[in-house]
Every structure is written in structure tokens, then in C-alpha cells.
């Protein structure tokens, strides 16, 4: 596949989600931060990161509240597979959820960026 066809592919609007890349999420697309890399680095054997249960709960709660239906989210995740193909799951699922929420206006990129920095500062405060 040529570079130009990749560009066309990535710019195409999806049926369920806008596939255009989101700068903030691009900056988080770091494979070294994924559980598949972190766990062996720290000799941890859990197959999944501890936050995965919370991510699944967020997806369930969004669907239960009528904000983002689970089936629509799964279709959008499928469409976003090309955008986040280098990142394994469950990190890809998380990036896809954030992407869907930003692209649908449920969150803005600016408020998410601010919250990311606040959360990190809080977690690293001790």
C-alpha cells in the first residue's frame, strides 16, 4: 500500500467515528507505555493492567447512561483499528474510547489535556 493511499484511508470519515488523528492522543501513542512492555519491565505477571476493569466499567456506564451505546462503540473501535494499529489492547481500546468521545464532542481536547496533566501531578505528588 502506498503512502498516499494510507493518507486517504486515514482521512476518510468513518461511519461511526471521525478517523482524523487527534494530536493529543497521538502524543500518547507510545508502545513503551503499554502493559505488554511495562509488565515484563517490572517482572509483573498479571496479563492485564489494573485499570482495565475501570475502563470496561466506564464503557458499560456510558452505554447504560445512553451516552455511547456499546454496539456503536465497538463499531467505532473497529474503524479506528487502522489509526491505532501499532498499539495493542487494552490500550487501543482506551485510545479509541478517548478518540470517540473527543470526536463526538463529549470531551474537548483541551480539557482532556488539562485533566491529564492534573491527574499525573496528583498521582506523582508523593
Amino acid at each position: 500500500m502506498s503512502a498516499s493511499s494510507v493518507d486517504i484511508q486515514e482521512q476518510a470519515p468513518g461511519q461511526y467515528v471521525d478517523l482524523r488523528r487527534i494530536e493529543l492522543l497521538e502524543s500518547l501513542r507510545n508502545e513503551e507505555q503499554t502493559w505488554a512492555k511495562l509488565a515484563p519491565r517490572w517482572c509483573v505477571t498479571n496479563p492485564d493492567p489494573p485499570w482495565q476493569v475501570c475502563l470496561d466499567a466506564t464503557c458499560d456506564a456510558l452505554s447504560a447512561g445512553g451516552t455511547l451505546d456499546s454496539l456503536e462503540r465497538r463499531h467505532a473501535e473497529d474503524e479506528l483499528e487502522t489509526v491505532y494499529s501499532t498499539i495493542p489492547n487494552p490500550e487501543r481500546q482506551l485510545l479509541a474510547l478517548a478518540h470517540i468521545m473527543v470526536s463526538r464532542g463529549l470531551l474537548t481536547e483541551e480539557e482532556l489535556a488539562l485533566r491529564l496533566s492534573n491527574v499525573r501531578a496528583r498521582l506523582e505528588a508523593v
Binding site: Y16, E79, E81, P88
Partner: protein, 252 residues
């Protein structure tokens, strides 16, 4: 075994503790931060409440294939229960501790309260898929593995079931019929595999150990000594997904 950890040049030996603490990731990843940020903003915006999230977290945390394993093992040893498994799977689920109506009183929004248990025989083998998305009997089997959600599996298992099963290490003789059951938005399926030879006189607990998640999806067969599934490869699809189960022209 004595463990010695070295952090910042300081050695800490276990000092004779028999059960050293399990290692943990002492690093805050961007993804951990992102999960929390998305959740907090959602709660602040009123998309759901913290209480909703706690209820779903606890529900998710309690899910595992163990309930399904118990159901199969019980069905193998108790003919009356086996009959109930096929007649009324939701009530049979309750007997192994799973109430499909949790956590909301009407289940989750993606686990509709309808389940069918598929009975394997020596000449009939079932395997489940959700070609549309990734419908899966979460209450009874826990979370679906990522290969099950991947378009590659969903597209190929319905086209070339024997070949895909063989990739998972399950080679079926031609005389065994293979049926692929496609879940839909409101139906969940689980496979009740054939009790393997060499398990006569086993207790329910012993039997439950060999009924792994993959045997209830149908990509593996239970057998004595096989008590875990091991990692499975996730293949990428060569063509991206641009559909959602309805043709583009039908979209509103």
C-alpha cells in the same frame, strides 16, 4: 526461593519471608492517567455517576470463566442439572452463582439476558463468534479475549472454520460436523463440550479445572492435564473495517 531486589543501588533481601510481596509496576503510565482522566471528566459532566462506575467496576472485577467451568462440570456429573442447562440456562447460571440481571437489575447494556448452551457430541462440534462486533456471554465466561474481538477471527471463522480451528491447535476429523454459532445483539452462546475420556470418577472440582475458557468458546477441547489456555495470537485484518453491520447508503 530467596528474592533479592535492587532499587537505586540498595539491595533488599526477603529476610526469610516465605511469601514475598508480588512485584508491582512502580511507574505511572500515560494510559493509566488517561483512563482516570476520561472517567473523572465523564463523571463531572454527568455522563454517569461515580456510583454507577463503582457498581460496574465491581461487576467487571468479579467476572471470570470459572462460573462457566463450574456449569459444565456440574452438567457432566448431574443429569438433572444438565437438562436444566439446556432448558433454562439463566436459571442454571444462578445455580453456579451467576445472576444475569446484575448489576442493574436488568443486566448490563451489552449483555442481554438471553443465553443458549450448545451441546457438543462426538460427531458435532460448536464454536462461537460474533461477526458483528464481539458479543460474548460475559456474565458466565468473563471478558472476551482480544483475538475473539479481532476482525480477523470474526471474518475467517465463519468462512474457514476447520482451518481457523486448526490454527488454534484443534484439528477435527472430517466426520465431525462443525457448526459456527454467530451471536447477535441479543443472543449469547456457550459451548458445552464433550466430557473427555480418562475422567471417570473425577470430582466436579477436578472436572472444572480442565474446562477452560477456550473449551467453552469451542476453539479447544478439554482433556486431562490441560488446565489453562495459554496465549493466543491476534492476527490483524488485511483490510480495515469501515462498516458497522449496515451498508453505508443505509446510514442515516
Amino acid at each position: 526461593m530467596a528474592n533479592t531486589h535492587n532499587h537505586d543501588g540498595h539491595d533488599h533481601s526477603d529476610g526469610g519471608h516465605e511469601h514475598p510481596a508480588a512485584p508491582m509496576v512502580d511507574e505511572i503510565s500515560d494510559f493509566e492517567v488517561l483512563e482516570l482522566a476520561v472517567r473523572e471528566l465523564s463523571i463531572e459532566k454527568g455522563l454517569f455517576t461515580a456510583e454507577d462506575h463503582r457498581a460496574f467496576s465491581e461487576w467487571n472485577d468479579a467476572r471470570s470463566p470459572a462460573a462457566g467451568s463450574r456449569m459444565v462440570a456440574k452438567a457432566w456429573t448431574d443429569p438433572a442439572y444438565r437438562a436444566r442447562v439446556f432448558e433454562d440456562p439463566l436459571s442454571a447460571s444462578k445455580e453456579v452463582g451467576v445472576d444475569w440481571s446484575e448489576p442493574s437489575g436488568f443486566g448490563t447494556t451489552s449483555d442481554y439476558m438471553h443465553m443458549t448452551v450448545l451441546e457438543d457430541t462426538p460427531t458435532l462440534h460448536h464454536v462461537i463468534v460474533c461477526t458483528l462486533c464481539s458479543c460474548y456471554p460475559r456474565p458466565i465466561l468473563g471478558h472476551s479475549p482480544y483475538w475473539y474481538r479481532a476482525p480477523n477471527y470474526r471474518r475467517r471463522i465463519v468462512r474457514w472454520p476447520r482451518e481457523v480451528l486448526a490454527e488454534f491447535g484443534l484439528v477435527l476429523p472430517p466426520e465431525v460436523e462443525v457448526r459456527v454459532e454467530d451471536s447477535n445483539a441479543k443472543s449469547r452462546f456457550m459451548v458445552l463440550p464433550v466430557r473427555p475420556e480418562g475422567t471417570d470418577g473425577w470430582t466436579e472440582d477436578q472436572l472444572a479445572e480442565i474446562v477452560t475458557r477456550d473449551t467453552m468458546i469451542g476453539i479447544a477441547m478439554p482433556k486431562p492435564g490441560r488446565t489453562s489456555d495459554g496465549p493466543r495470537p491476534i492476527h490483524k485484518a488485511s483490510r480495515p473495517v469501515h462498516s458497522g453491520g449496515r451498508p453505508r447508503e443505509a446510514a442515516p
